[in-house]
Every structure is written in C-alpha cells, then in structure tokens.
C-alpha cells in the first residue's frame, strides 16, 4: 500500500473528526473547560494537612499552668479551640456531633501535680472515625505536651535523643504538592476515557459506521484517525492543566518539562486505547458507558492517587502494574517533586509504552472483527 496515500487518508479522517468536534459546542466544554475548572476546584480540595484541628477543652484546673498548656497547644497551629466547658458530658457531645475532633481534659490539681514526683497527666480524646487525622493529631498532641514538659522542667538540655527531622523533596510537607500533580493525571485519564469510549459505538448507533466501512480506510487507519484528534486534545489539556498547577497552585516543578511531555504521550495513548477498546466491545452507548465506569473506578482507586500502592495486599499490588495511571502518577510525582530524570523513571516509561501499544493493537484487531 502506498504510504503517502495512507497518511492522506488518515489526515482526512482526522480532519473529519475535528469538524465533528467543532460542531458540537458541548463537547468543547468537556475538552477545554471542564479539565481546567476541575483542577482549580479539586486542587484546593486535596489537602491532607492536619492543622486547625477542632479541639474541645475541659479545664478542671483553671490555673496559670493549665492555661499555658492550652496556649502552647493552639500556638502550634495544629489545634484550634472550638469549645470549652466544665462538664465532660459536653466534650462527649462535641465529639458525637463532630463539632470537635480532639478533646483535651485537664484534671483538677494539674498545676499542683507538676511539682510532684509522679508528674501530672492530661487526657487527650480523639475521634478515630478518620483514622488518618487521628493518628497525626495524636502525634502532634503528644509531642506538644512533651515539649511543654521539657520547658517546665527547665533543665536546659534534657539529655536523651534529639531527633532531627529532615523531609526531602517537600520540606514543608505540604500535601497539596503531592496531590495536585496526581489530580492532573486523574483528570487527563477521565477526559481520555470520556472522549473515546463512546466514539466508535456512537457511529455504530447512528449508523455512520457502515459508511466508514465502505471507505478505503483500513482498521488501523480508522483507529489512528479516531485517536489522533483526541490525542491532540489530550496533549493540549495536559499542557493547560500543568500550567495551572504550576502558576496557580505554585506547585514546585523540579524536573524536566520535555521529559514530562514525552511521558504523557504513551499515557494518553493508553487512555485513548482503553476507551477505544471499550467502544469496540460494546454494542450500545449505554453499555460502553457502564464499562467505562467499571474500569474508571478501579483505575483511580488502584493507582496510588489516594491510597498508597505499598499498603495494598500483594495481589493488588501486582494488579496495579496493569494500570497506566499508576505508572503515570509515579512519573508525574517524581518529575514534579523529586526532579527525577529518565534514569530513575525508565521502568515506568517502558510499562506505559507496553500498555499503550498493547491496548491499541487489541483495539484495532477487535475493530477489524466488528467490521468483517
């Protein structure tokens, strides 16, 4: 077959798809508007930083010492007193109503006990419903109380081990820096699937697939023609969304932009390929949609976006290797935060390329069958 004619045919098909997309203003919104708005909205949402935790205080002691302890706690910025009372029952109520997540109870005689040999005790109650917040808040509370004790002891250096912490890659431990780049990956995956999963089925339902079948296009060319326009839109979305992440959210971009763009191509192809594959195995749009949905849920949850892959049971950890989003998130986070280069990420590149090539091949084979 003449390669020039082949490129010409693909080009015509791409042009036709672009025309169709241009005529559908609502689709435009899905492609251009939605990703940007989503990133801005969700970029603000994705923070797991524990600060200003709602704290309810029951101070039975009412001494200078007890007030100092409460002051130390709130001055840290991690806790914010949202209620006070003399009755422990109010503390229970506050926790039940979720008006407070942490309860601090200072017993009567706290100040007196400070000077005694046995020492004083305070009670910290935590709402464990959100296990994550509770773990972190407990750590902060215990550390602050201990610092307070050290200050009271006025021993200068207390002796003991002085743990010096140094977080790498993200010195402020801002969770947004970790989560926003991942939202980029998630949104692009969503756009890819939404665009392509219905592409072929739709033509079949409208009846235009027959027209395509009598055209001289081969299945591979058809798939290319369907993928390229959405691929271009995907890349456009990618650049726009990354720009928003860096300029709007001021997420540090430590790595190489070209490398990131390069990694996005196989990722986009995998996403579009999965969408097309769904499209070719479904007979109605509704069915295609349900399958898309069925695939998208696990893709997100088993990607490491919200739940670390390393905490999953090992069978699921293996399963995540088939998930393009998992590899892409490693690349995005690595490039953004660690400034990792191709040397550290080649395995993820390879995985994405393999997944992309595999799904596109299967999609075009399935497509040939449906046509025949």
């Amino acid at each position: 077959m003449n390669p020039r004619a082949r490129y010409g045919r693909i080009f015509e098909m791409v042009r036709k798809e672009f025309l169709q997309i241009r005529r559908d203003p609502r689709l435009w919104r899905v492609i251009v508007f939605a990703p940007m708005v989503q990133l801005i909205v969700f970029g603000y949402a994705v923070s797991t930083d524990v600060r200003n935790t709602k704290t309810f205080v029951v101070d039975h002691d009412r001494t200078q010492a007890s007030r100092e302890l409460i002051e130390t706690l709130t001055a840290s910025g991690y806790f914010r007193v949202t209620g006070r009372s003399d009755r422990p029952a109010d503390l229970v109520r506050a926790l039940d109503h979720a008006d407070a997540v942490v309860g601090l109870e200072i017993p009567a005689g706290f100040a007196r006990d400070l000077t005694r040999a046995g020492g004083a005790q305070v009670q910290v109650l935590l709402d464990g419903t959100n296990s994550n917040v509770a773990t972190v808040a407990r750590g902060y509370a215990e550390r602050i109380v201990q610092d307070y004790a050290a200050r009271i002891a006025r021993q200068g250096t207390m002796g003991g081990i002085d743990l010096r912490e140094r977080p790498w890659f993200n010195p402020d431990l801002a969770s947004r820096n970790y989560n926003v780049p991942a939202v980029v990956g998630v949104i692009i995956m969503l756009v890819c699937l939404l665009l392509t999963s219905l592409a072929v089925v739709r033509e079949r339902e409208i009846g235009t697939l027959e027209q395509l079948m009598v055209s001289p296009l081969s299945p591979g060319e058809l798939i290319a023609g369907k993928t390229i326009p959405f691929g271009i839109f995907g890349l456009f979305d990618f650049v726009a969304v990354i720009t928003v992440a860096v300029l709007w959210f001021k997420i540090p971009f430590a790595g190489n932009a070209a490398l990131m763009l390069l990694a996005s191509v196989p990722f986009l192809l995998s996403g579009l390929g999965i969408g097309l594959l769904i499209s070719t195995v479904s007979s109605t749009q509704q069915e295609a949609f349900m399958v898309t949905f069925l695939i998208f849920m696990p893709t997100i949850l088993l990607s490491g976006f919200m739940f670390p892959v390393s905490s999953m049971p090992s069978a699921f950890q293996w399963l995540t290797l088939l998930n393009p989003l998992r590899h892409y998130l490693e690349i995005v986070r690595g490039v953004f935060l660690k400034g990792a280069g191709a040397g550290a990420l080649w395995l993820q590149f390879l995985a994405l390329t393999l997944i992309g090539a595999f799904v596109l091949t299967v999609a075009s084979r399935r497509f040939r069958k449906t046509i025949a």
């Binding site: 949402a45 923070s47 935590l126 296990s131 006025r154 003991g160 905490s311």
Partner: protein
C-alpha cells in the same frame, strides 16, 4: 398542576421497570456493581502504614545504636532494607523510592547519651507524600521517645513530667478500613444512582418516545417521580446489601439504628436520583447525559465529600461548593451510624439538608422538562 395520581404514577413506574428488566446488563450492573466495588475496594485499599522501608547509617557502631535500631524494627512498622556506610548513599535510595526513611546515627551517639547530653539523631524522610511522611515521623518520634525515656530513667529523673494519655474513640484501633468502608458506601451510591437516572429522560428524547409520554395524561411531576421509583428501590437494596457486607465481611461495627439508616438512605437516594434526572432532562442525549453525570459526580464524590480530604481545611468558597455534593451529608450519616452510633438528634441536620437537596433536584428536573416540552 394536578395533584399526584397514584395510579398514573404506578403506571409510569411499571413501564420504567419493564424497560429496565428488558435490559439485563444494566440491571446486573445496577445490582452487582456497588457490591462488587465495595468488596474489591474494601480489601484493596487501606491507609494503614506498615513495612516502611528503612535504611540505617550507623556511624557509631555501639551497643546503644544497635539497641535503637532494634527498637525501630521491634515496633513492627519498619523493615530494614539497607545499611549503607555513608549518609550520602541515602540520596539514591530515596530518589528511586527504595526507602522512605533514612536514619543517620552519628559517631559519639552512645557517648553523648550515656553522659546525659542530647544525642543527635538524624531522620531523613521521603516527604513527597506528605501524609505518609507525617505518619512515619510520628512513629519514629514515638519510638525514639520511648527508647530515650528508658535510658533517662536510669540516670537523672526529670523535675517535672506531664504525660498525655491519648484515647481514641469510635475506631479504637484506628483501622482505616472502618473509615473507608462506610465512606465508600456513600461515594459509590452517589455515583451509581446519578448514572442510573441520567439515562432515563435522555433515552426517551433520543428514541422519540418523549412526545408519546407527553401526550399521556400523566403530569410532568408524575413522569419524573414514576421514572425514579424503580431506581429508588434498586438503590435501597444496594445500600442494604453494602451495609450487610461492611458488617459481615469486613467486620466494620454498626452501632446505630438500622431503621434510621434506611430512612436517611431514602432521602439521600431521592436527592441523587433527582440530580441524575435533572442532568438527563438538560442533556437530552444519552451520550452527553452520561458524560455530564460522570463529571458531576465522580471526582466530587471522592474529593469534595470529606471521604478523603477534610472539608474543614478547605478554602471558604470550596466549602460552599461541598454543600451541593449530597455524598457529603450521607457520609456523615454512614460514619455516624456505623462507627459513632449516634441517633437522629445528631443527624437531623443532614436529613433535612438531604430532603432539601432532593426537593430542589425534583423541582429543577420537572421545570427543565416542562420548558423543553413546551
């Protein structure tokens, strides 16, 4: 508008149910999908952090430094994967993600400790995942503090001591599954319910049967409500099934009233199904309706409901937006009933807001519907 006629409402509901029954695939998905997803994710996802890969650079080579490392390993949270000779070697391992924590024990560690001086110990943590890093540091500090106290007790007794006695309520073991499963019920049901109804009105438009429906004596409200009824029943069955699974399979406690759960689920489903209806009426094509439903429910249910990210720390504008995410209310209900065992006195506000949401959803769906027909 005429008041709702039960017979006409029933007829519309029956017609929708028959249509649904003829489509076994969507029926299977409507019943099976939530349960399958809950099982899958109940097993797969957890936040519990253990087996943290640790590297130790022990420059002191003393009994004390070995004891400290032993304390880290005995905690069960860490597993030692490397013992490089130089601190500089930690960089490569952190880059590749081979380790998450590096401990550097300097020369003279044991001497300082035994002399009662502050003995420095450096902890280098992979901060890219701030959440995990914070928890790792909290674990490390607890271990170091405990070991440090053991040694100090043999030496000088501190003058004053304040200890914080922590007690965790509702989820005593801090098992993340207890938090995730009730949350998932809310998130999954929001997405599925909206999807189910997003197709119904659009389908009639596409098939051209909308004119026929409009020509029947049924009012618009009757059509909307009648179409909703079968999905409401499916949704309720789903919620009940998911709750049973949570308790029986995953051992999540259910401390509240099952009846209250049922009633509040009813309000929640009305709201979300109404939202789907509204989208369906606006979109008019199944393709667009499903895309809109997906965009409107998927990420908001995960990110803006409080399932993962606390609403309290969001900026004000965004907190305002979370009020139109029905899963936000239902999440408080499921966690409250599963874990806290609270009653209507705590949850009535959520109930009221869900009723309001449902009313607005119906109103908008009927309105858009009428405008389009006219």
């Amino acid at each position: 508008m005429s008041p709702i006629n039960a017979m006409r409402l029933g007829a519309i509901a029956r017609k929708e149910a028959i249509q649904l029954r003829r489509d076994p695939r969507s029926l299977i998905l409507a019943f099976l999908l939530p349960v399958a997803l809950l099982i899958l994710f109940g097993y797969a996802i957890t936040w519990d952090i253990d087996d943290i890969p640790l590297a130790v650079v022990d420059c002191d080579h003393s009994a004390r430094s070995r004891e400290l490392v032993g304390a880290f390993l005995a905690s069960g949270y860490f597993s030692l994967v490397a013992r490089p000779d130089r601190a500089a070697d930690l960089g490569g391992d952190l880059d590749r993600g081979r380790i998450q924590l590096g401990l550097v024990i300097p020369v003279g560690f044991a001497a300082d400790l035994d002399a009662g001086r502050a003995a420095p110990l450096q902890a280098i943590v992979d901060g890219s995942d701030a959440n995990t890093a914070t928890i790792i540091l909290a674990y490390s500090e607890a271990i170091v503090r405990c070991y440090s106290a053991q040694i100090l007790l043999h030496g000088v007794q501190p003058l004053a001591l304040v200890t914080a006695q922590s007690r965790v309520w509702y989820n005593e073991e801090l098992t993340s599954r207890n938090m995730i499963v009730p949350g998932l019920v809310a998130v999954i049901m929001m997405i599925i319910a909206a999807m189910l109804t997003s197709l119904t009105i659009a389908r009639e438009w596409e098939r051209g049967t909308m004119e026929q429906l409009a020509a029947t004596p049924a009012s618009r409200l009757e059509i909307v409500l009648g179409k909703l009824l079968p999905y409401l029943i499916i949704g309720l069955i789903d919620v009940v099934a998911c709750s049973f699974l949570g308790v029986l399979l995953f051992g999540v406690p259910f401390r509240g009233s099952p009846l209250l759960m049922f009633i509040l689920s009813f309000f929640f489903l009305c709201g979300v199904l109404g939202l789907g209806m509204f989208i369906s009426a606006v979109a008019k094509s199944q393709l667009l309706a499903t895309q809109m439903a997906m965009v409107a429910t998927f990420l908001p249910a995960y990110l803006l409901s409080g399932f993962m990210f606390a609403i309290d720390v969001m900026p004000t504008v965004l907190r305002g937006i979370t009020f139109i995410v029905p899963a936000r209310y239902f999440l408080v209900v499921t966690r409250g009933l599963f874990l806290k065992g609270v009653g209507i006195n705590v949850l009535f506000l959520q109930g009221l807001l869900m009723i309001a949401f449902a009313a607005i959803g119906f109103f908008l769906a009927v309105r858009v519907f009428r405008k389009e027909l006219a």
